[in-house]
């Protein structure tokens, strides 16, 4: 368990918990992207470049687009 792995693991645990505790959807989307980044680093440190690439691309492109579109649609459609 090299120190880098330890750091990456703690970051993942922290980021995951923060994402869950953040109730506001917009801030949560940004935190989700940060969480995906910590996961990417963790997968790299676990010698899994393919999965890191997959998480990077998905966490960086797919999740933000889908989440932001859903939030905008819910916010603009409703009266809030």
């Amino acid at each position: 368990m090299i120190p880098l792995q330890l750091a990456a693991l703690l970051m993942v645990g922290l980021a995951g918990t923060t994402v869950v505790l953040m109730r506001d959807p917009l801030r949560m989307t940004i935190l989700n992207a940060v969480y995906a980044l910590t996961l990417t680093i963790l997968f790299l440190v676990f010698q899994a470049p393919d999965v890191a690439l997959s998480m990077l691309v998905v966490g960086g492109i797919a999740y933000p687009i889908v989440l932001l579109a859903a939030i905008a649609r819910v916010r603009s459609g409703g009266d809030e």
Binding site: M1, V12, G16, V51, L67
Partner: protein, 114 residues
Amino acid sequence: MSYLPYIVAAWLFVVGLYGIVTSRNLIHLAVCLTVTQSSTYVLLLAIGYKHRATAPIFYGVPVGSRAVDPVVQALTLTDVVVSVTVVALILALTVDIHRDAKTVDPDEIEAFRG
């Protein structure tokens, strides 16, 4: 110390469930679902890891050298990409629910009782 990755995976699983049960917004609930799912990725890849081993890519690396387990990576790799579309399906349901019920709070959706 040598079980920390598995503990983090177990923690993420339960934290995700906590987020789902206490959620007040379906979009937040969908993201908590992905946190629960990501715990399985951390567990799978932590199981497949070996000390002082390279990635299972033998380009410029001699074939016999010590490498981590490729099978868990193959399982996780496709699962990560596919789970986006499943969460997108849940978000599509959320958008439709908001259009009909004007709310995204799971506790206030009054479709059916009992």
